[in-house]
Amino acid sequence: MDQTAKEQNLPRLLDDGLFDLIGYLLTSARGLLDEPVEYGPFRLVEGVSRLCGLMRGSSSRHWELLGRLKLAIDNSKFTMMTNAEVFKGLLDNAVLEFTRSMKGGGDTDPSLK
């Protein structure tokens, strides 16, 4: 294990969650070589949702934004298979919300700052 990570002593839940996410990303990368192109954006946005969940569970200072992003993604991600325009809208809105938050210094829960 990397020495820095050892010293920082990642919380167990986050550590396990990130470990699982590595498996998801690796197998997604391999699988996408053979799968429909539309699956690429879906796998990425699913990865974002999982990362938001992990960061929220670890008291990220971006807690509020991450919650909104995760909810929006999980509510609409399957439209990738049924309505490409709605899926595209989901991504556009998510990018915009993320950017506004970043520009404003991070949409954060004041108690976590």
């Binding site: 699913e46 298979m81 049924t82």
Partner: protein, 189 residues
């Protein structure tokens, strides 16, 4: 429940209630798979049922198509030793596994179980986790559990699907509403 009802009710359930699926139910599901049609009566399949939560989670980690942990999973493998003795054998085995999977999912509906068939798995990783020998090829997996998934059924296309007597002559079903004459089919190419 009759077969047609089961067909109409089945849909892909990806999220399951926190309730285990009993072994007796899984046995009934797999028995339905055994009774699927099979080319040349080869029965070129092996079904591996998984219920241990740790193993199910490991499978999820290497399966991008598995968005939540399932309560049970049946890995449908083709048996190349039974299938591969004539040129069309491997292809038929693939069809056979698909038909077996559909049988299993329909019985799952009757038993009150939700299911979702999945191919988006890293097969090498799955082979490693389930210790699948070389002569078996994992083809697809069926996730199972009690439904906790409110998502609606995906719409079905019926246009350009059903034809009568010859392609392009008469399209649709004969229950009235969607039976219609079609324009001549476009040329190929």
């Amino acid at each position: 429940m009759n077969v047609e009802e089961a067909i109409m009710r089945r849909r892909s359930i990806r999220h399951y209630a926190d309730r285990p699926v009993g072994r007796a139910l899984l046995e009934r599901v797999m028995k339905a798979g055994i009774w699927a049609p099979t080319g040349s009566n080869r029965q070129p399949w092996v079904f591996i049922a998984v219920t241990e939560p740790d193993t199910l989670h490991q499978i999820r980690v290497v399966s991008p198509g598995m968005l939540w942990d399932a309560k049970a999973l049946i890995c449908v493998c083709s048996d190349q030793r039974k299938a591969g003795t004539f040129p069309m054998g491997p292809t038929l085995a693939l069809f056979d596994c698909g038909m077996a999977a559909q049988n299993m999912m329909l019985v799952a509906v009757e038993l009150g179980l939700g299911s979702c068939v999945m191919r988006s798995t890293n097969m090498a990783a799955l082979r490693e986790i389930l210790e699948i020998p070389d002569h078996l090829q994992p083809e697809l997996s069926i996730m199972l559990g009690y439904s906790d998934d409110p998502s609606p059924t995906a719409p079905r296309r019926d246009e350009g699907v059903i034809y009568w007597e010859r392609f392009g002559k008469e399209e649709g079903t004969r229950d009235g509403s969607d039976c219609k004459r079609t324009k001549p089919a476009p040329p190929f190419g």
